[in-house]
Symmetry: C4
Subunit: 178 residues, 4 copies
């Protein structure tokens, strides 16, 4: 993890966020019922973070290897575009950001486990949740203070929100001198 200044610089270039789902939107646990139905534990606070991203025009999506429909169920509620059941997240990510007319250098990826490494190594701003596995934390440019499912998504959204609001305010101040 680099110094604070480097993190701010990296954050300021982010135009799109790709999130892993399990371990990022959840605490990486799964509730399994007798008949094999799966449920996950998410944080209500993440929804407000995503709303703030919409306010400042930053887009986002979820990319997950998980095949269970619970990923889609949560993303539908939050209004997050969701690509799940992926064997190759990076190929999907490349297609998605091309559709948005963006470069990988403008993308942040938030992950927690080794199946996120190809994406984390390819994007401009790789982010790990607080409780990511060591193999992942060591490759992230920014490690969040909060764990997945306990506000990690919200924390990252807030960081982008406050940075961009400030940037927007500075633009307007400079503009008034023109």
């Amino acid at each position: 993890m680099r110094c604070e200044n480097d993190v701010s610089k990296g954050l300021s270039k982010v135009k799109f966020i790709a999130f892993d789902f399990d371990g990022v939107f959840t605490d990486n646990r799964v509730i399994v019922s007798e008949c094999g139905e799966e449920s996950v534990l998410c944080s209500r606070s993440d929804g407000i973070g995503l709303e703030r991203l919409r306010e400042i025009g930053i887009q986002f999506a979820v990319l997950s290897t998980e095949t269970n429909p619970v990923v889609l169920a949560r993303c539908k509620k939050l209004g997050v575009p969701c690509y799940s059941g992926l064997s190759d997240k990076l190929s999907c990510l490349k297609i998605v950001i091309e559709q948005h007319g963006l470069e990988l250098s403008e993308v942040a990826f938030v992950g927690n486990d080794i199946n996120d490494l190809p994406c984390l190594r390819s994007v401009g701003f790789p982010v790990a949740v607080a409780d990511a596995w060591d193999e992942v934390r060591s490759e992230a440019r920014h490690v969040l203070k909060r764990a997945g499912g306990f506000g990690a998504v919200r924390e990252f959204c807030d960081q982008l929100y406050f940075l961009n609001r400030r940037a927007f305010a500075l633009e307007n101040v400079q503009g008034s001198y023109e």
Copy 2:
């Protein structure tokens, strides 16, 4: 957060409590099933706290932006009047306390996230749970020791209960000298 003395003074004026739901009655997490059904994690201890409030005649209600019926389900069990799916909690709060013939200065609001700020800024006694977001904690007059879903509601009910029982006892002692 002000000093202990200030908190007691503020508490003594409270005649009505408005509670946020998620993050106050719950740990702010939501369990999402494959078909998108939501469940929440609450504390059994809160029910006893609300019973104590009834004993001393303090009324209360839940105000939530959440649209999912799980809020109503929990409030029904606890016998708490519930207003959910609110886009504007403050407008609803004003109507509710007018119906009770009270002023905003006589109301405590217990919240945890930024959608509680308009209410917290308007009531006489703004309260935050222990794990409220910083933007909320900084605007609360009283920060509870317990986190939402782990007895925060009970803690606040108990504080009002013991204060009012003592006030009631003092009244009676003074009365006996008349």
Copy 3:
């Protein structure tokens, strides 16, 4: 809480255990679904503790004020006699121990909240789980190290098991000198 020696002396007289359910067999939380169905979080370890009690001939039951059938569901799995929906636990406890031909002085009660106080004050050996409310902890003769739902029941069963096994062993040693 008294000294270790006093606890052992008290433990040695216990012939029957009455357990509160919520906060003792559970972490005092309740999962509430959209339609109001309730679920609770229990520890698998408690079952082995109860089996050990059966081995040394100590009987037990659950007494709960909770009306929801989830209490019965868990007790059925564990094979624990269960009295739930009680408005007055102490009256029920008196009837139950009379049926067993025992005295209140031979009973341990394990509780966590104020609705357990009448029972805790009446039995010979009042026990509180680690995360019991202060009003309850202060009236217990023995406070467990483990919290409800995280092995508190098992911890207490094990204490009785090892004490009684040792007592049984000592009896046999003395017997061999006769």
Copy 4:
């Protein structure tokens, strides 16, 4: 628990892992619904660990005393052979490893509670999760840093994976000098 060196030596001989289920793949808690349906809390991270074991050719199975079908449901998702409802785990283990043409000395058993002791005492490499009961920890040759349901399975799989990958690399280096 022996020294690091001893652990590596023991690990290098492991050709088969037998896992207990509750408290190893789960946090030893069970969610009980009103109608007695059981669910358990597992970690998504364990699946990646088991995939790594497959990569290096180490086989595994789950042995559980639990009769509830939730054990089978989770094992089916993970693709782990599962023997549940066992009154005698050790007898089952002996049959299973004979079918694989292995000796008990080549087996690791990962457990958390006293019903795992007969297996732990019989295998070559007995392992306990971080939150195993003391009676179990004291008999393990290796105690994991992670608790059951929070990546204990993954941690152990990773240890075997990195050791065997290294062994494989060393073999190849030596081979190039021949």
